[in-house]
């Protein structure tokens, strides 16, 4: 097998002990520590193993559809202060989002560790669909935990996962959304860890997940940086991505971290606005705390109980955020803003009508951010936006929002 070529600056960074400044760590039951150590060792070996890298590269070329293209969107950009706007098209990946990048890599690791079963949490359903897909491809048993509220707002994705052979378990306790699905997945893992890999879908959780998932998504930024240079002859002024847990954002940001002139801008879910309390704008309102194994910014009350988040997009509806984002924010390397549901739906409709691209509601947060940043920077600016997923799954929400359904259908 041939080893994929790696240009300078594109090699996977060296593994660390799992701390990003004060953030990260391993706040989990002792029972899981051996599995986390096994996983850490397996992924470190894999990332320098030519066979693993070649197999992942082959899957990305022949199954995922990598490299994903970039698309310049001038008619959309006319509304963004006339700045040049380029989209990285992760929506065109197999299964419809960036999630597949990490999922295929972790599924390969599962097989290498000799485990036969994967479990995963899902919010919008994109990570669940990607995991069910990889499990089907590699012949693994698959159970997906999904909040009951999310199974209702993303019913189509539930059907997709079932078609792919996964068992979907609706989680009814707590707020019945993503955070509760993660609790339930962790309970399953602690019970079945000997045979089961927890295929965590974002850059949070206990070490090595934040670093490993970032490394598996880093290809987004590696490709996009070269593509933008090739198209425009220069680096973008800003790279913009939505941030729930933060996997697509870490994926596109990381290669640009050393490029001091490139602003990294994460867009959180502003929900119904900060004063309403119904949002997921962690950086605007939250303080450091521990949830699901990692220290990061956390929406919590005075006692440290988790506060429920809200967003029109299930994929950003999470009260904490990946620990490396917390560190990028505190060190000033990245900046974080939020877009409200209303701004998001406006950006969503605008991309549909000006460019013929229906984005995921999550990704529409990044588009709303681009509209704002473009207007601030003006026509000389060059913006790279991660279009992390496609919007088919959100048609029901959008149709209701824009009143496109008859009353009895909605």
């Amino acid at each position: 097998m041939t080893q994929p070529s790696t240009a300078p600056g594109e090699e996977t960074p060296a593994a660390t002990t799992g701390r990003f400044g004060p953030f990260g760590g391993r706040y989990v039951p002792e029972a899981l520590i051996p599995a986390l150590e096994e996983l850490d060792e397996a992924r470190q070996k894999a990332m320098v193993d030519p066979d693993f890298l070649a197999e992942l590269d082959r899957l990305h070329r022949t199954y995922t559809g990598r490299p994903s293209i970039i698309t310049e969107v001038p008619r959309f950009a006319a509304h963004a202060g006339g700045a040049r706007v380029i989209l990285k098209r992760e929506d065109l990946n197999h299964t419809g989002s960036h999630k597949i990048n990490n999922v295929l890599a972790q599924a390969l690791l599962t097989v290498r560790m000799g485990k036969r079963r994967v479990i995963a949490e899902t919010g919008a359903g994109q990570h669940g669909v990607a995991t069910a897909t990889a499990a089907a491809l590699m012949g693994l048993e698959c159970t997906i935990y999904m909040g009951k509220v999310d199974t209702e707002r993303q019913a189509l994705n539930v059907a997709r996962m079932k078609m792919l052979g996964a068992q979907v378990v609706p989680v009814e306790h707590g707020s019945a959304t993503l955070k509760d699905a993660i609790n339930e997945a962790l309970r399953d893992w602690v019970t079945n860890v000997e045979t089961t890999h927890y295929l965590l879908g974002t850059v949070t959780g206990p070490h090595p997940f934040p670093e490993m998932v970032r490394d598996f998504h880093r290809i987004i930024g590696v490709e996009a940086r070269a593509q933008v240079l090739d198209l425009t002859g220069r680096l973008p002024d800003a790279v913009i991505a939505c941030v729930g847990g933060g996997s697509n954002a870490m994926g596109i940001f990381h290669r640009f971290v050393p490029d001091a002139g490139v602003r990294l801008i994460g867009i959180e879910a502003g929900g119904e606005g900060i004063p309403s309390g119904r949002h997921a704008a962690r950086f605007a309102t939250a303080s450091p705390g521990v949830l699901h194994g990692a220290m990061s910014y956390l929406m919590q009350d005075e006692d440290g109980q988790t506060v429920e988040s809200h967003s029109i997009s299930a994929g950003l509806d999470y009260p904490s955020v990946g620990p490396e984002h917390a560190w990028l924010r505190d060190t000033g390397r990245a900046e974080y803003r939020y877009a409200t549901d209303e701004q998001v739906m406006e950006a969503f409709a605008l991309l549909c009508r000006t460019e013929g691209i229906i984005p995921a509601l999550e990704s529409a947060h990044a588009l709303a951010g681009a509209l704002e940043v473009g207007r601030e920077l003006g026509p000389d600016a060059l913006l790279l936006v991660n279009l992390s997923g496609r919007g088919d799954k959100d048609m029901h929400t959008a149709a209701r929002y824009f009143g496109l359904l008859d009353e009895d259908e909605s």
């Binding site: 039951p29 002792e30 029972a31 520590i33 602690v190 705390g289 005075e302 440290g304 988790t306």
Partner: protein, 273 residues
């Protein structure tokens, strides 16, 4: 290498039980279920019926080591407005009833108060120390320092999956006793407490002189007797909580709780080693 024992801690009670040739009975109840006052009355009832140590549970929004019974009680307690501060009323009452109260708390609730401030408050309220289900010694520098400063016990968990290296690391950070999880999984009654528990206790004893207490899955007198045959303490949670959940009113729940506690207390005396 065992750390000096603390006057607030549980070592004295465990020594006494050992001298009596029996295991200790450790009973768990969450603060705030069915109400704060009701939960304190229930803890005192357990003391009167024969527990040697009370494990005072602090309800948390995301209890990932707990099964359905304790999840339900915690959610009800939080919905009823239970606060972290109520923990300290419970520890005072348990101490006044004559046994050491050991608080079981998920870590973010301690972190949020400030680790040292929490430890000071716990010690002032008669607390014996903390059981930390989602804090491993590797992340516990602040807690180890604070517990030294305030004379509190530190109970970390070991599990059947723990390697010998992890057993050494975890037990060397414990003070009071070592909590051995009988099986892989979350809290809740099980039909059998696996042979894995005895094996884990044996492996743990090979690396520490501290008492080893076994929890997860014990619900009956027979199981308590079985575990008492090889462990220094038997920890019971969900089965006790269920007494309160299944009762139509508090008095009925307290009665059921007294009966089960007395049965379990008899059980730990039947498992002579």
């Amino acid at each position: 290498m065992t750390a000096p024992t603390s006057p607030l801690g549980v070592a004295g009670v465990l020594d006494t039980c050992r001298a009596e040739g029996r295991a200790a009975l450790i009973g768990y109840l969450p603060v705030g279920y069915p109400t704060v006052e009701g939960s304190i009355a229930a803890m005192v009832a357990m003391v009167e019926a024969g527990v040697d140590i009370v494990e005072v549970g602090v309800p948390y929004s995301d209890p990932l080591m707990d099964g359905p019974v304790i999840q339900h009680a915690a959610a009800t307690a939080l919905a009823g407005g239970t606060r972290v501060a109520d923990t300290f009323a419970a520890t005072k009452a348990v101490r006044a009833a004559g046994v050491p109260p050991l608080v079981m708390s998920y870590w973010n609730l301690v972190l949020r108060s400030g680790v040292d401030a929490y430890a000071a408050r716990l010690a002032a309220a008669g607390g014996a120390g903390l059981i930390t289900p989602d804090l491993i010694p590797d992340e516990a520098d602040d807690w180890i320092a604070a517990s030294e400063r305030h004379g509190l016990d530190r109970v970390f968990l070991v599990a059947p999956s723990s390697t010998d290296e992890r057993l050494t690391r975890v037990t060397s950070a414990c003070r009071g006793f070592v909590y051995a999880a009988s099986t892989m999984g979350v809290t809740g009654a099980r039909d059998t407490v696996g042979g894995g528990a005895e094996h884990l206790v044996r492996r743990t004893r090979a690396v520490t002189d501290l008492p080893v207490c076994v929890g997860l899955g014990v619900s009956t007198r027979a199981q308590a007797a079985q575990v008492a045959g090889f462990a220094d303490g038997v920890i019971v949670g969900s089965a006790l909580v269920r007494c309160l959940i299944q009762a139509r009113e508090l008095d009925e729940g307290l009665e059921a709780l007294r009966l089960l506690t007395a049965e379990l207390a008899a059980g730990v005396r039947e498992g002579r080693r």
